[in-house]
Each structure stands twice: as C-alpha cells, then as structure tokens.
Symmetry: C2
Subunit: 514 residues, 2 copies
Amino acid sequence: MEIRLDRASPVPLARQIRSQLERLIREGILAPGVKLPASRELARDLGVNRATVSLAYEELVSEGLARAHVGQGTFVATHEGKSQALRPNLSSGLDWSALFSKGSQLADADGRRRASASRGVPSAPGLISFAGGMPDSGLFQTDAFRRVLNRVIRTEGTELLQYYPVGGYPPLRQFLARHLLKFGVEARPEEILIVNGSQQGLDLIARVLLDPGDFVAIEEPSYPRAIQVFRAAGAELLPIPLGSEGLRLDVLERVLGRHAPKLLYCQPTAHNPTGLTLSPDARRGLLGLAARHGMPVVEDGFDGGLFFAGPQTKSREWPPAPLKAADASGLVVYIGTFSKILFPGLRLGWLVAPRPLLERLEVAKQLSDIHTSPLIQAAVFHFCQRRLLERHLSRCAAEYGRRRAILLRALASRMPKGVTWTETQGGFSLLLRLPEGMDAEALLPSALERGVAFTPGSVFFVNGGGESTLRLSFSSIPAQRIDEGCKRLAEVVRQAMSRPSRRAEVERSAVPLV
Amino acid sequence: MEIRLDRASPVPLARQIRSQLERLIREGILAPGVKLPASRELARDLGVNRATVSLAYEELVSEGLARAHVGQGTFVATHEGKSQALRPNLSSGLDWSALFSKGSQLADADGRRRASASRGVPSAPGLISFAGGMPDSGLFQTDAFRRVLNRVIRTEGTELLQYYPVGGYPPLRQFLARHLLKFGVEARPEEILIVNGSQQGLDLIARVLLDPGDFVAIEEPSYPRAIQVFRAAGAELLPIPLGSEGLRLDVLERVLGRHAPKLLYCQPTAHNPTGLTLSPDARRGLLGLAARHGMPVVEDGFDGGLFFAGPQTKSREWPPAPLKAADASGLVVYIGTFSKILFPGLRLGWLVAPRPLLERLEVAKQLSDIHTSPLIQAAVFHFCQRRLLERHLSRCAAEYGRRRAILLRALASRMPKGVTWTETQGGFSLLLRLPEGMDAEALLPSALERGVAFTPGSVFFVNGGGESTLRLSFSSIPAQRIDEGCKRLAEVVRQAMSRPSRRAEVERSAVPLV
C-alpha cells in the first residue's frame, strides 16, 4: 500500500492514513469487497505503531467506508455504484481517438453497428431466452475435468507451467490427428496448430493472409466476429447468400468471375446461425470452384459430433465429411474448437493447414501470445484419452437433439402464417424469418416484456440486411420451457402483425436495448 | 477411423484394413505411440467380425508397425523419424508464398534475421546454459497451485468453464488494483485488462495504435519479440541507445525533434537483456518529454518483486516506482505479467491504460480470442489471495539475487581484460560485451563444445549491431554451477582473443547453430 506520511505535519498520522485510504476507496481503486492489509503489516511497512493503523481503520468503518470482520480483517464496504462517481475521470491529456490505428477504427465501427442488436439480454426472472449460442453449462462434466487436471499437474505440472513450444502439446496434436480421421480428415500432427479457440484461429488466418483492400468471400448470414475480424484487417467483404441447403454456389461462381478473393470463409456443417449443412454434391462443387480459382477456403468446422438430423440421416454421406477431407489441392484451412463440444471457457481450438501456411501461422501465434497454456492442453488431452469427451458428447448430442426437435415442433404448431425458419440440422440454433417488413430488433422490447428473448438476425449480416430475421438458440434452454417460449414469441409476432403500420412501429421502438 | 472397405473386392477384409492402417501409420497421420481403436469398436464401426480386425492388427504388429500391450491395446510403434519421410509432401497446389500478407512477410523477415542467434541451444549432458530468460522451474510451487486450482473448480467450475466477459475475472482485476498500489500505481479495476501474458499485451497495443509507416521509439537493445511485433505492424523503429543507467534521454529528445513516434516502448526497470534500471530523475525527465510531445509510453513493467540491488538500495526511491505511478497526463500504458513472478506456462498478464484506450484494447482482445481462460485467472487470484505469490516471490527473489551476486563475482574474477558487462539490478540477465571486433555468435560453437551456452546479443538489436555482445541469464542456472560456467566462457573468450585475426575467424565460424 503506497501511503505517504508527512511526519512534520500537524495532522495526526492516523488521520493521514485514513484520509489517503478514504481517497483510494472513494476513487474506486480499492474496490468494494477488497481486503485491506492487516494492521500489523501496514504498521510495519509505514514504520508506525499498530494502534495508529487500527485507529485509521476504525474511522473508515465508522464512516461506512469499510467493514471489519472479526478474525478475518477489514474490507472495503460495498456501495453499489456510488464510489466511482467521485473520481475525476483520468481519461488523460492525450486525445487517444486521434491515435487509433485504421484497424482499430474499422473494428470499432463494425462493432458499434452490431452493438444494439448483440447486446446481452437482461436475465429477468421467468425469462425464456433463445439468445446466446453457447453450450449448456448444466451439462458440463466439471468434476471429471477437475480430476484430470489434478492428475496432470501432479505428473507433469512443472513442465506444463514453464514456457512451451508454439505448436502445442504433442500428445494433443497426435490425438487430434487421430480424432480428425473419424471425419475423413488426414492430417499429420505437424499440420496442426493449437490455438486459443476458433476465434484466435480466425484472427491468425486474417493476419497471415489479409492486407487492406483484399477481398474475402463470406456466407451471409455468418458468424459476426468473423465479419469483424476480416473488416478489422481492412478486407472488403463479398457476401454470398445461403440457399435452403447452404452457400449458393451459383452466386459464388459469379462473384469469382468478377473478383479474386484472398479466401472464402464458410461454415459448411451446422452453420451458425442457420444450422444448415452443405450437401455432399455442393461440397464437391465448392472445392472444384476453389481449385479452379486458386482460392483458399477457411472452413470453420463443426466436427459432426453435434449433428442431429438430415435428409439422409442413415446414409454414409450424411453428415457429410468436412471439406478438408476431400481437399486434394491442399487449399482448405480447417478451424476446430473445443468450445462447443467441451468447455468454451478453456479457450482451446486448433487449425489444420498445409505446412507452408502453418509455419506462418505459428510465427503469428508466437507474436500474439507465445503459445497456448500447455496445462489446459494436457488436461484436455487426458480428458479425451479417457474417452470422457466421447461420453460427454454423446450425452450432449442427445439432449441438444431433443431440444432441437421440440423447438421445430413448437414453431410448427405455434407460429402464425408468414413466419418461416431454417430446418437446422446441427449446432445450436436456427434462423427465423418474420413476415416481410417486420423488424426483429424492434420486436425485442415487447418480447422481453412478454418474457422471451432472442438475438436479432441483423448482427449476422454483412452490410445491414436481415432485419426481419432472428436467431433462436436451443442449446442452453431447458427442454420443458421451449414450447412456452415459442408460444410467447408467437403471441408477440401476432400482435405486431395485427398493427396497422408496421413500418412506423419499427421506427418508434428501435431504441437501444438495455 | 475412416476406413473404406470394398466388399466386392477379392482382397480379404483383414488385408484391406491392414493396408489402410499401414498407410496412415507410414504417412505419420497415426503418430508413433498413438493407440489404435479397440478391435471390438472398430469391428462394430466397420460392420465386420472382430476376428477380422484382430487379424489386421496382428499383421501390423508382425510388420513392426504396431505394438500390442496385453490388457492395454494396440499402439503405433515408434520408429524415430522414419515413418514421416514416406509421405508425399502435401504442400498443396497453391503457391502460398504469393498470398501472405505484408505483416506476415515483415514478421517472417525479422524472425529469419534473428533465427540463427535465437535458436534453442541443444541440451547436452554437462552443459552449463546461460541461455533462455525464464524463471527456474525448480522453484515452482506446483503443488500449492494444484490445490488452489482444484478448489476453484470445485466451487466455481461451472461458470469458469463457460464464456466470460472480456475484461477478466473481477476479483483478479481488483487484486491487481490493490497489488499495483504497492508500487504507487493507482488504477481502478476497470482500467485493467487481463491478457495472455505480456506478449499479448504488446500485440494488442500494436493493433490498436499502429498503422504501417508509423514510428516507434524503442530502447536498443530490447526484447526481440517486441521489435518483431512492431515490425509486423509495419512500424519504422527508432532505436534509442542505453547509457549506463538505461535509456538515453538526450538521444530520445533529439529523435523527438525529428520524428513524432506513435509510442515509445521501454522497460525502465530490470531491463531485458541488460538488467539496468532507469533512475528516478531520468524517469521524471522521460515523462516530461513524453508529455511535451504528446507521446504514449508503453512501459513493460517488472513490478519490483524481482529487484535485487541498486545504488541506493535502502532509499525510499529505490527501486524506483514504475513510470505509471507518476503518470499525471495519463499517457503511460503499463504491461504486467505473471510469467516472471509465477509461471510462464499460464500465459497470464495485464494491461493498465486510460479508459478510452482500454476500451479499444478490449475490442481488439475480443477479436483476438474472446477472453483469457477464467479458470486460470481465478486460480491465480486465489493463489495470490492466500499470499502464496508473496511467499513464492520472496523465495525466488532471494535465490535469484544470490545467483546474480555469484555471477557478478565470477565474471569479475574470471573474465579477461577488455570484457565488460552491465551491472544488472533486477530481472534475469545481464549483457556482456566482448572485446572490440569479436563476434558472439561466432564464438558460440566453441563455447558449446566447451560446455557453456549463452544467447548472442545481436537478437536484441533492432537493425543488426550488438554482434560483440551476449546475454547471460542467471535465473535458471543452479548457483553452484555459475562460477564453473564463467570459467569455461572466459577460457573460450581468451582463446579467441589470442588468435591472430579475429575478423577472419568470425567469418569462418558464422555457421547457423544446430
């Protein structure tokens, strides 16, 4: 604790200590709930009598700025939101906004455009939320993971806590090579780079391949943070619409006639937000097109483990193998992640790429953060090795599949005519389309009032558009609440449909979410 | 396992299975040591008799491609380096080198320039290595960390394994706010961003502030991966030499008269590689200069915990407070890390910055990898909260201080005239300068032969230079081997000094390290 005492001052030392602590508390530097140093320690550090510090603490307590817990110590009191207002804003003499890079400005602008739609939904009691596309933490095998982690630190802790080679924990790369074989992807361990979740995979690819002004072809709708990463790199996005079975090859072909994109980003299996899956034929067509045009394809993979249904469920070709499995020309970069199949909080994923590209990705990874935590990598490896991932995944797939089926049934029975949705086959969500002219974001306040939440679809679109769509995630919502959620949503939609002028309504209620 | 059986073929099924597995093993996709699926499982997946799979496995074993362990299963055999050569290189039809971004090319070029000097040193038996600037893993409190991690997963596991807000685990940010107060730095928790080690901190700063062509002032010598990050961002580097007490303000002032750098990157305390520390007066001078020129200062901090000595060890001003502590104009960005004071493998660090900048850093962090593992954050918080960090740090500081003192004594008694070194005061290393004209990298092969290793100093210099310098790290070398290491190094130096033409020698032995 940096407290300066002026021993020549007529102000008593206890008062000096108190007033300096008071300032730190009022300015929010000592945050509510933080423990103050033991009076004995602080007295020793400052070279004063312990009673002097105790006196200062008592005054803080009597002012209501601190609380004393017998046997535990003295803690900063919790005044909700009050303390911080008292601190002058230290936003500094510099005009930072004049210093920000082009990339930062682009990321910020794109982020702002999506901000109101992607803002978190308040968790009100009784709210049924179809927002947020994450696995259900109620299904987490937390304790099994704890035991594995515990074992790994016992046996390999010292090496796993030291610096580590950038490529990753070798047994995990070997495991992934074997795991990918299940889906027909043949990759040697040295063609695999461990990263901090698929987001870092995307980011590294953008760094290594994109210069400002480069074109990037991308499915529309798509994953918002992919759009934002490519934008921040200064790329021009070429949106390719989805048909009923995913990416429209005819449009892509036309686009490739006019532009030479540096890469195509796509989610051919269990696409977010629609849940659509590209057919085996379309996959062959896509790879052929990419090979003819020498265009790298970034495949944001969903490894089939969370795949629920399809037109030919029993067929050998369904769910279709990843593009990477048929990548004869070596132009597909595959992004994989443990976030959806295990725990998002670990931030663990991987890239599969031809060596010449992987070497550059390794350099970029090293500059980004040297390497991914080997402790987490080793724990996940051993979790997988004991087949705990398989077990977890089959439990989850069954449960998510059930929720998906209930959602599709509920939509079919509850939604008014004119509302349509994608026949999701995998992943966590589907995209619903409201009747022409109706705005999903404008509908959200009344939906929240009615106790149901969703994600407005516009955040998944590249340059605006998708205003009449919304994403419903079924992954983290209890099965028994899905029908009620659809009922509420249908009521809100019906109500909006019955209003005379939808357009006017849209404008009036397009206020930012809170 | 993706194995395709042709039931119409005259080739027996067991033979088909064997030959496909053989290919995967020979191509290195099934890596040495990897476990093959249990025969029962594979038989079920392929719809064949279990005996068929067993037969295939037996043939693999008799060929020496696999090993069977009774009760454990069948594993790919370990043929050192043999299997992989058999696979055709899948480097693909694309000419990737034509696709790499400018940033990737710059990073690669800079990396190559440093590659031979920074390449890892082979760990031969008996080698005394002053290379590698890392904490000594022999001092790690691995078991204490294991217990804390265990507890944290038990109590908060479910939330810590889910997606998390980008800023970080709130108690850790509050702890850091309190911790920084010890060094005079006042920061509110919301002015702190948790990142994956100081490397990610640097990288985010470069993203948010640098455009190609911007100038960056930087101490010379400096941390190589900082140089590389700024280069990859397209910045022009302005090296500022160090005097006997660190950064030369007179040179900086002249440079600021000619250029307007976007930022200055510095390590004012326990500088890597020199171990030097900027005096309190020079710090005031530096902040004044920066304020007059409106130049942000990126302070790569070393929080004083690993500070061993100084001219005024007992003084209130020594070790001097971080620049951030006296940052009245809010232009200092502070980078902190747990890598040096705790475990590098966790990849955990933090940034302290004024809010307008921190908001942009948060956006960049989100696009980089969404957030840092909250599990690791929570474990480190509880480790600190139980004062285990303090205890660990005081043990380490005492031990490193002892090693430093032994090294300085050994150098003084062993080194020939004409060899000088920096009087390191903190951190892990010092920089040694050989007599004029002698090349450290050229000296390394004979040093390795003699059983001593170091890092050639040129890797710490911006545009070449520093060829006659080398870094000696004392942090991870047992105290009782330091004197012997210096003795060996002195012999090698003496030998090189006694040769007739040093220059010629330099050229002949400047082969890449292995």
